[in-house]
């Protein structure tokens, strides 16, 4: 696909090229180990005879090969490639042993004999020759290389190069710019007239009025309009060029209001409920004197846009949800417990450690808060404004969760991607700072998007048939944040993107007027990363989408979503309880209701609040897969996302087990169904009456939707080895903590014996 020829270096290497003295020490045969390079990728430094640790227990599986640092990745090329594990996700741009430099969290060098250890940053010196290099990755992997047989000087240089190149001085130095520029020019021939419209791109990007128009029509938000007041970022630098506002507000008003908001952010429309209530997000008003007046005018305009002129409720997220530092520190703790701490040590107090990290508590708080807002929009038919200081962090999480719960469209793959595009990318979530791609300001780092994905996973875990995509998709999406080849997660605002891409286009001689999406594609172009076959891992076989079948009283019926089925969940609750704004705010502000009740054996009976009644009513009814979806937010029903947090942990990997075995079975079944459907179509197809039909067959294999194909009679008597709880990932070589010994089984068994509680022995009579 891409030229494997090494490119001529286009800029100066940080370090001189590798010295060849390494090769003298070791006898042939030396296989020539060539890295697979992408267009624009150059080798910065390399060292031979490196040992990559594969398992923490023993050296016997370790791989020997060459360690290479390029301007894009750390690459390891094994001398003898081990047989590739079957049916494992393979990345088109990254090899099995490659790590993008942007994915590196920390580069640590160790000298065992001297007992020294140093965390390397950019432009640093290293006074000892490392015997070992440990790479802590943002996708939670820990990769270890040993230099016992490598040239000490070259090893040192490679380590320094890796550290240096993983701390780029400027955003434009991220490899994506080089790569997409080359790619643009190399694929020019394939484009007609030098430009392609967003071919095959179904995910709306929301960078043009038509995308917003479609969304307004889809949700029936007739009292809202697309406004271009921010074209060329004339009003706010962090808002998109096109936004949706109440029709009652003129461009002139908006310009005037904008001056009072943080970062001049005019309130943004997110979504409309079929009952007419709207979800709006907004920043804070800076000027306390003007605050009341401005807010009142905004509220009035939103009320006017409601068909019943229903009131507006404001939810101040800063006041009731954890802030970005809280979230960051919770994530750091949960990561520590899951991957850094030795398995057995963390096993002992596992539950309370997870509890104390507060990660799940935060996940729950966001889900719960989003559900409360759903109650207002669905149950009380009022419009809701989400307010946050800057409207660029917590608002992104809550607004997208509310929409996922209320609108089944966003639970399809395309819908979900458009939601991320709309509420995160376009709304100006600071991906650059929150991801800390440049490793400059650690105070701004916060895994908000990760938190959002975890919340989505919780919903998926509770309602496995309601999402078109799988948890493997969510995990792959989270990994894509650390591959700097796509525009989605690289920038902090629309304007920043536009500016950088304009500079980039100029530098790379891309003609003006060329669509950014074409020359710097978003992550949604999955075929850049994965084969069609691997992409089928994203498909949830259980999904009840439009046209999916369901069984009623033993008969197969086609599930057809009637127009606005999702409003049917209203069921007359709309007119229920319309208390004033005060009551509403009270409930919303209540932070995750951390209050606890006194309990006795027979606890007192308490009265239900209207929202509790609303939720109880909803939970007592059968859920409509294509309707409103409210996740359970009881602490017992929010779980740790094991595929994400534990996929690399060898001790936690269930061989021939895990939920993948159910997915395997279901996929095979759906594949059989699709074969049958295809056969039926062929029978029913336009065939002349008398001639015998050609024997029907299944759909061509590249069109099959399921990763696992219908089984054949000679299936093995045991489940295939690749089915593990980590599938489609593998812990092998991806989590090598230092100094852990013993076999997995003996390890946890020893651990099991440690636990000897304070229970008395005197009672052991039985």
């Amino acid at each position: 696909m891409f030229s494997v020829k090494p490119m001529k270096p286009t800029f100066k290497c940080y370090l001189p090229p590798v010295q060849t003295d390494v090769k003298k020490n070791i006898e042939p045969p030396i296989k020539k180990l060539e890295p697979k390079l992408l267009p624009g990728e150059i080798v910065v430094n390399e060292v031979n005879f490196v040992r990559k640790c594969i398992s923490a227990e023993s050296n016997q599986d370790d791989l020997w090969g060459k360690l290479i640092c390029t301007n894009f990745k750390v690459s390891f090329i094994p001398q003898e490639a081990p047989p590739k594990q079957k049916s494992q996700l393979s990345h088109l741009l990254l090899g099995e042993h490659d790590i993008p430099l942007t994915c590196l969290e920390q580069v640590v060098t160790v000298n065992d004999t001297k007992g020294k250890k140093k965390v390397l940053g950019s432009n640093q010196k290293l006074k000892f020759n490392p015997t070992e290099l440990i790479l802590y990755c943002k996708d939670l992997r820990i990769i270890r290389f040993c230099f016992d047989e490598a040239g000490p000087e070259s090893a040192r240089k490679v380590c320094l190069a890796i550290a240096h190149y993983s701390h780029p001085a400027d955003l434009q130095l991220l490899f994506g710019f080089e790569y997409q520029g080359r790619r643009y020019h190399e694929s020019k021939g394939e484009r007609v007239n030098g430009s392609t419209p967003r071919g095959g791109m179904q995910t709306p990007i929301f960078d043009r009025p038509s995308d917003w128009d479609r969304e307004i029509k889809r949700t029936g938000a007739s009292e809202w309009r697309v406004c271009s007041v921010n074209e060329s970022y004339a009003v706010s630098p962090s808002l998109p060029e096109y936004i949706v506002v109440p029709v009652s507000l003129a461009d002139q008003d908006l310009k005037q209001f904008s001056t009072f908001f943080t970062d001049r952010r005019i309130p943004l429309w997110c979504w409309n409920h079929p009952n007419g209530s709207a979800l709006v997000r907004m920043a804070c008003v800076v000027d306390p004197i003007q605050q009341r007046k401005i807010e009142q005018r905004i509220f009035t305009a939103i009320t006017k846009s409601h068909p019943q002129r229903s009131e507006v409720i404001r939810s101040e997220l800063d006041k009731c949800l954890p802030n970005i530092q809280d979230i960051q520190s919770a994530f750091v703790k949960v990561r520590q417990i899951c991957v850094l701490d030795p398995f057995e040590e963390s096993e002992e107090r596992w539950l309370s450690s997870i509890d104390n990290s507060r990660w799940l508590e935060y996940v729950r708080a966001f889900l719960k808060h989003a559900a409360d807002i759903v109650y207002y929009m669905e149950g009380k038919n009022v419009s809701v404004i989400l307010q946050e200081e800057e409207d660029r962090d917590l608002n992104c999480v809550v607004s997208s969760l509310v929409q996922l719960m209320l609108d089944p469209h966003y639970r399809s793959l395309i819908g979900f991607q458009s939601l991320v595009q709309k509420e995160w990318v376009m709304a100006g979530h600071r991906f650059l700072d929150r991801c800390n791609h440049l490793k400059k300001n650690y105070k701004e780092e916060s895994p908000l998007f990760m938190l959002f994905l975890d919340c989505v996973w919780q919903m998926m875990n509770q309602y496995p048939a309601t999402f078109e995509f799988t948890e493997a998709y969510l995990t792959v999406l989270s990994d894509s944040m650390w591959i700097p080849l796509f525009s989605t997660f690289l920038f902090s605002s629309s304007k920043q993107r536009a500016q950088h891409l304009m500079d980039f286009a100029k530098n790379k001689a891309i003609p003006q007027g060329e669509d950014q999406v074409v020359y710097f594609p978003p992550v949604w172009e999955w075929s850049q990363q994965f084969s069609i076959k691997d992409q089928t891992l994203f498909n949830n076989p259980m999904y009840v989408g439009k046209g999916a079948a369901c069984v009623q009283n033993g008969e197969v019926k086609t599930f057809r979503r009637t127009k606005k089925t999702y409003s049917s969940t209203l069921r007359g609750t709309a007119t229920l309880m319309r208390n004033g704004l005060k009551e509403g705010e009270e409930t919303l502000v209540r932070r995750g209701s951390l209050m606890s009740e006194l309990k006795s054996d027979f606890s007192a009976v308490k009265d239900e609040s209207p929202s509790e009644r609303f939720f109880r009513d909803w939970f007592s009814r059968p859920a409509d897969q294509q309707g409103l979806l409210i996740p359970l937010s009881m602490p017992s029903h929010v779980a740790l996302w094991k595929l994400f947090f534990l996929r690399w942990v060898p001790e936690a990997c269930i061989t021939r087990g895990g939920s993948i075995t159910a997915y395997h079975k279901l996929s095979q079944l759906v594949d059989e169904i699709e074969i049958l459907q295809s056969q039926l179509r062929q029978y029913k197809g336009p065939s002349p009456g008398n001639t015998p039909l050609p024997s029907p067959s299944g759909p061509p294999s590249d069109q099959r939707r399921m990763y696992f194909k219908a089984s054949s009679p000679d299936d093995p008597p045991t489940p295939p080895d690749f089915l593990t709880s980590s599938f489609p990932f593998t812990p092998s070589g991806n989590l090598c903590r230092r100094s852990v010994y013993g076999t997995p089984i003996s390890k946890f068994l020893n651990g099991a014996r440690i636990w000897l509680s304070t229970e008395t022995l005197a009672n052991d009579t039985v």
């Binding site: 096993e347 596992w350 539950l351 309370s352 509890d355 509770q462 048939a465 259980m542 369901c550 069984v551 009283n553 033993g554 599930f559 209701s593 009740e597 309990k599 027979f602 009265d607 239900e608 109880r616 939970f619 007592s620 059968p622 859920a623 409509d624 897969q625 359970l632 009881m634 602490p635 779980a639 094991k642 990997c653 269930i654 021939r656 087990g657 079975k665 279901l666 079944l669 169904i673 049958l676 056969q679 039926l680 029978y683 029913k684 015998p692 039909l693 029907p696 093995p716 008597p717 045991t718 489940p719 709880s725 089984i745 099991a752 014996r753 636990w755 000897l756 229970e759 022995l761 009672n763």
Partner: protein
């Protein structure tokens, strides 16, 4: 399914009160299972009652013939559907039930010789609470006379709930409160009455008492063979009154010697075969502790016996003795004459302690768990609170022990001996769990029934004492949730291997519900001998009769029968979870997880439908081509892609 009178009524009943069978893959946790988009007729009961009553389902689905033709809708009546030989004992109106979730409800209480039935008509939908009396552990009168003159009663249940009722002070002081009546029938054993299982006369198409036959189970394992024989030495329970009559022992130990071994083992529970590996011949054997005592007594016969067990397996020259207890507890038992095998006396044997605690610790742990989950879960520190109950740590230790046993047998090809003190609690947990990991037969529905009948019932797990059927002595120190723990461990395995078990969660919940309900005779008595004496198989119905007569309800559609699949679960708190579908099911906020199984069933139905249509078209085409061009008969139109239709 076979047709018989009772099944017919079962079917007709279902269509009136329950969803058709296709939809009712309902476990307690998935009682609202039909959530695939189609509208379900609103249940006549409130959510609380759905989880309460519908799950003790025989009385709902298996209706006595007499009432089968009744047209009155159940929800319009104040009385429950009665089971065969169930009779109303008392009825009272204006009773308040304090539901911890929805508030105080006023309604009617009916007490029968089997259940308590509460119905509140004021609510829409009607609220029903249907509770088998066997579930009640104790009844408490609370705050005898409040200011309003109400008398209030608390029912502590064995299945993780507490119920509270109240009624007005009775004017007629001679009249008994309905809860006094309840106490009489809830504790029939203490009141000289009969447990309801002896009266329940339902006939099922299958006889569950025939599920297990010791000889054929040993035969399935290949016993007798050249190393193992079946002995009838315990035919009249003279060797050991808590063991079954059929035992498998090493060939070269004559019955006379078995008696001398029995003298050295607590309660005469000698090492006997539980399971043998079909290839390596490594075995799992079980027994009680040796009577070593403080003086370190030895028994030549016992030592020779264990040597014989080791010799029966040619693959290994070692024998592992797994003592389930913590080593300190095992040592403490020496004071009472018990103890453990010393490695000096038993050459080639290695002794391992598995650190599993005794029944009292487990009882206390479950009590703490109930405090944490019922009625409501506190919003903060859930996992820390859960950790403080130690419940999951106990589960982990049991599973870890079973895994070590399975690993020794499978990977080490070494025979193991398992014991605790008496060998009927922790030993039963360990042998049955390791057998589940080793032998896929036990992971089928019938295989699991066999496993329970064999390792638990026939080997004398003392169900009567541990559960206290019909006994009001709720503080009895012999009560303990040993069996619940075992079922919990099985559930943990099903979570890690969702396609490896033929049965579903509902099957496990049903077993636990009828552990207490006293509707079936299965879990009555303490040993095979007692069961024979009480003529349990003659006088009661087996739980397996009920279950095997409607297998579809209990089947896991994701099941793949991999015959050589040995399960090695990850025994880590990272993967062990609280079984919310059992312990937290009473909370109406606990909507069950969207059942994967349900969706799978729908897909299966769809495939069957499509297959049918394809086959029809196929036939049509074949016929047409045969008639139009006979010379081409036999042409390969049948080359249609074969689609596997195994389930």
């Amino acid at each position: 399914m076979e047709k018989s009178g009772s099944v017919d009524s079962l079917g007709s009943k279902r269509s009136s009160s329950r969803q058709p069978s296709v939809d009712s893959l309902s476990s307690t946790s998935t009682s609202r299972s039909d959530r695939s988009g189609q509208a379900k007729p609103p249940s006549a009961m409130s959510s609380d009652s759905v989880s309460t009553s519908a799950e003790f389902s025989p009385e709902l689905r298996v209706k006595p013939k007499a009432s089968a033709k009744q047209v009155i809708r159940e929800s319009d009546k104040e009385e429950p559907q009665l089971l065969p030989n169930e009779t109303v004992q008392d009825m009272a109106q204006d009773i308040t039930y304090f539901c911890p979730f929805t508030g105080a409800l006023r309604g009617t209480v009916t007490i029968t010789n089997y259940r308590l039935f509460f119905k509140c008509m004021d609510r829409e939908p009607t609220f029903v609470l249907d509770l088998p009396l066997g579930v009640v552990s104790r009844v408490e009168k609370i705050g005898s006379a409040s200011s309003r003159g109400d008398v209030s009663y608390g029912l502590v249940c064995k299945d993780m709930r507490n119920l509270r009722f109240a009624h007005k002070q009775l004017e007629d002081t001679l009249r008994k409160s309905i809860f006094e009546v309840l106490m009489k029938f809830a504790f029939p054993v203490s009141n000289g009455l009969q447990i309801f299982a002896f009266e329940y006369g339902q006939v099922f198409p299958e006889n569950g008492w025939k599920v297990y036959d010791a000889v054929s189970e040993y035969k399935r394992q290949g016993i007798p063979n050249e190393s193992w024989r079946i002995t009838k030495v315990n035919d009249h329970y003279e060797l050991c009154d808590t063991y079954p009559s059929t035992l498998a022992v090493p060939v070269n130990i004559p019955d006379e010697e078995l008696k001398r071994v029995a003298a050295f083992r607590a309660k005469g529970r000698i090492p006997v075969l539980s399971w043998i590996h079909p290839e390596s011949q490594a075995t799992v054997t079980r027994c009680s502790q040796p009577m070593v005592g403080v003086n370190g007594k030895r028994s030549k016969e016992d030592e020779k016996y264990l040597q014989a067990i080791m010799d029966a397996n040619a693959q290994s020259h070692k024998l592992f003795i797994f003592d389930a207890r913590p080593s300190v507890n095992a040592a403490a038992n020496k004071m009472k004459g018990g103890g453990y095998e010393s490695e000096d006396a038993y050459q080639n044997a290695e002794l391992v302690f598995l650190d599993i605690h005794n029944i009292h610790v487990m009882r206390e742990s479950l009590r703490k768990l109930k405090d944490v989950v019922y009625p409501n879960i506190e919003d903060s520190h859930w996992l820390s609170n859960l950790e403080s109950t130690h419940w999951l740590e106990h589960i982990k230790l049991i599973l870890a022990g079973a895994l070590r046993i399975a690993d020794k047998v499978e990977s080490g090809k070494t025979s193991v001996v398992v014991h605790c003190s008496d060998g009927w609690d922790r030993t039963a947990q360990l042998t049955s769990l390791s057998m589940l990991m080793l032998d896929s037969y036990y992971r089928t529905i019938r295989g699991f029934e066999v496993l329970l009948e064999k390792e638990w019932l026939s080997f004398g797990h003392r169900f009567q004492l541990r559960i206290g059927h019909g006994d009001k002595n709720h503080t009895d120190a012999d009560r303990s949730p040993v069996f619940i723990q075992f079922i919990d461990c099985v559930w943990q395995l099903t979570r890690q291997f969702p396609a490896a078990f033929e049965f579903n969660e509902y099957f496990l919940v049903t077993i636990l519900d009828h552990l207490y309900s006293c509707l079936f005779g299965t879990f009555l008595c303490n040993s095979e001998q007692q069961r024979l004496k009480e003529e349990i198989p003659k006088r009661t119905v087996s739980l397996w009769s009920y279950i095997n007569s409607q297998l579809e309800e209990f089947t896991n559609p994701l099941y793949v029968n991999y015959s050589n699949h040995v399960l090695f679960p990850v025994v880590s708190l990272r993967h062990l979870e609280l079984w919310v579908g059992y312990y937290i099911r009473w909370n109406p906020r606990m909507r069950p997880q969207e059942p994967v199984h349900q969706r799978h069933k729908e897909l299966l139905a769809k495939r069957a439908e499509l297959q049918k249509r394809v086959d029809e078209l196929q036939r049509e085409v074949t016929n047409r081509s045969a008639s139009s061009s006979s010379e081409r008969a036999g042409s390969p139109t049948r080359s249609i892609t074969p689609v596997q239709t195994f389930v």
